[in-house]
């Protein structure tokens, strides 16, 4: 069977080994066969307790919600930047530079800054106080550690925007001017061209990158640890807590959580590859 697999695929498998190994080990650990307190007999108790624990699904759901919201905001903004500022004019170039400048800023810095700005005694609260809108930090609506995850969503969106904007701008530039000219001479107004040609091509091309940023936001530990509430917990934070739990059984549960996270990542990877194969060639 292995003999039929081309050599380069085996190389790729080697690169993926740590993940594949992690999956295998996590599966064994959550069944109690490997890891601390392991026994020779598989035991479904830990698996059962992970799967039936409401906390598990609340955390998974909440992390998905945060990743989805932040990615939706960032993708919309990135698409808007590419569509609204496409030319060589100075103002357009300036707008594009602004959108892409924070590209290499780490998640951690984005999250820390969000904390400085959006916390109840942060800069935003101070500005609102100066404007007479609130009189004490407690009156500031909670954006940090709140169940809505507003600060976390904004921090992740801020971090994702530059990357998605870079891709969207490259795509926008790659949409041949000829295509838009063709649509114009067939009777489409600039708005119609944007709606029927440019945007449909742009979002299809952007989709793989959107999936990639989604899965990065989903897995971002440091942003969640700084900005997410305790309940519902973010999945990466909950996993980390379980790893450090003094109870051995709870540590085993961490592997169950890791498996869920890896499952989400695997689906995203497959979707990334499928959308790239399907739409990647529409825009060069």
């Amino acid at each position: 069977m292995l003999r039929r697999v081309p050599f380069p695929v085996l190389l790729a498998m080697l690169v993926a080994t740590p993940v594949l190994f992690g999956v295998a080990y996590s599966a064994l650990a959550v069944l109690g066969i490997a890891g601390a307190g392991a026994s020779a007999v598989a035991d479904s108790d830990r698996l059962f307790s992970v799967l039936t624990d409401r906390t598990t699904w609340r955390a998974t759901g909440w992390s998905l919600y945060v990743a989805f919201s932040s990615t939706a905001i960032a993708a919309t903004a990135a698409g808007a930047v590419a569509l609204l500022f496409p030319t060589h004019k100075r103002s357009d170039r300036f707008a594009r530079s602004l959108a892409t400048l924070p590209l290499p800023v780490p998640h951690l810095v984005a999250a820390a800054t969000a904390l400085f700005v959006l916390s109840q005694s942060g800069l935003l609260a101070r500005v609102l106080h100066a404007l007479g809108l609130i009189d004490a930090p407690a009156n500031m609506p909670a954006l940090v550690y709140d169940a809505g995850g507003i600060a976390l969503i904004l921090a992740l969106a801020w971090k994702e925007l530059p990357f998605l904007a870079v891709v969207a701008i490259a795509l926008r530039a790659g949409i041949a001017r000829d295509l838009e000219d063709a649509a114009r001479t067939l009777g489409a107004s600039p708005r119609t061209v944007a709606r029927t040609v440019t945007w449909p091509l742009l979002w299809r091309g952007l989709f793989p990158a959107v999936i990639a940023t989604f899965v990065f936001a989903f897995g971002s530990f440091e942003s969640a640890v700084l900005l997410a509430p305790i309940d519902p917990a973010a999945l990466p934070v909950l996993t980390m807590e379980r790893f450090a739990d003094p109870l051995l059984a709870r540590r085993g549960e961490a592997y169950g959580l890791a498996l869920i996270a890896l499952g989400v990542a695997a689906v995203a990877v497959a979707a990334h590859e499928v959308t790239r194969a399907r739409w990647g060639s529409l825009v060069r």
Partner: protein
């Protein structure tokens, strides 16, 4: 009189809205940096002051010789080691993957993408065991090893893209002109890859430089990196040194931006 030039109008938005959009972008981009600067120099910034009442360079002066300084050196060394290792592995891997066609190509690309996409905490769970077996858990080498895993995945994808778009014509030409494998690589492939290699080094460095979860899980606190230090400071409410650390984290990142710009025209890139 000359009629107005008929430049086809492609504007989708009228100018007041454009101006507002640009202003919003400017605020969102610039404000965080301003805040970090203020925070790092601010002295006694009490509620409800919008600006700090005084400025001090104490946190910056404490960097050299302090824990932030040591952590930055650790992180830089770790980043360089990760970048070099990742590029050395990923270059031949990417080259090899580029030869695949059809479904296998997608399978291979997905496999390579896995360590990049896997949530670091979950990836760390597996890597912790591997490093335990290898006897490098909770050591600097173990942390370096864990950083190279996602870096290799990312950079392999980058080289896969590069080798796919450039084809093998130049190599074939070199071969038919009588070049050996060695000469083909040293005189044709690598020199012509200077830009993507620079880009790959920068990205791999950044992956390591900004890594938190893997360092924490695999290193178990044995290696204090800059992001770990910053995370601790922020959580402890030590805003001034935390802001200094955050700015230190951005500096090489911004420097690497120049290299990343090279890849800005590729649409199959991945976020860091």
């Amino acid at each position: 009189m000359m009629p107005p030039a008929l430049v086809p109008q492609s504007r989708v938005l009228t100018s007041p809205w454009r101006a507002m959009a640009i202003a919003a972008l400017a605020i969102s981009t610039v404000l965080p940096f301003v805040i970090l600067l203020l925070q790092s120099f601010g002295e006694s910034w009490r509620w409800p002051d919008v600006l700090p009442s005084g400025l001090t360079g104490s946190a910056w002066r404490a960097v050299a010789g302090g824990s932030l300084g040591r952590a930055a050196v650790n992180s830089a060394a770790l980043g360089v080691a990760t970048a070099v290792a990742a590029v050395c592995v990923a270059l031949p891997v990417g080259r090899s993957l580029a030869q695949l066609q059809g479904a296998w190509r997608h399978v291979a690309a997905a496999l390579v993408f896995l360590p990049v996409a896997a949530p670091p905490i979950a990836l760390g769970a597996g890597l912790q065991i591997v490093t335990l077996w290898l006897g490098i858990a909770s050591t600097s080498v173990g942390v370096w090893f864990s950083h190279t895993v996602p870096a290799i995945g990312y950079v392999s994808l980058l080289f896969l893209g590069v080798f796919t778009s450039r084809g093998t014509e130049a190599e074939e030409a070199a071969r038919t002109l009588g070049a050996s494998t060695w000469h083909t690589w040293t005189m044709v492939v690598i020199p012509s890859l200077r830009a993507p290699i620079t880009e790959a080094l920068a990205i791999a460095f950044l992956i390591s430089w900004t890594q938190v979860a893997l360092t924490l899980v695999v290193g178990g606190g044995a290696l204090r990196t800059l992001p770990l230090e910053v995370l601790t400071l922020v959580r402890a409410g030590q805003d001034r040194p935390a802001a200094v650390g955050a700015l230190l984290l951005i500096v090489p990142a911004i420097a690497a931006l120049a290299a990343l710009r090279l890849g800005a025209r590729r649409t199959d890139a991945l976020p860091t």
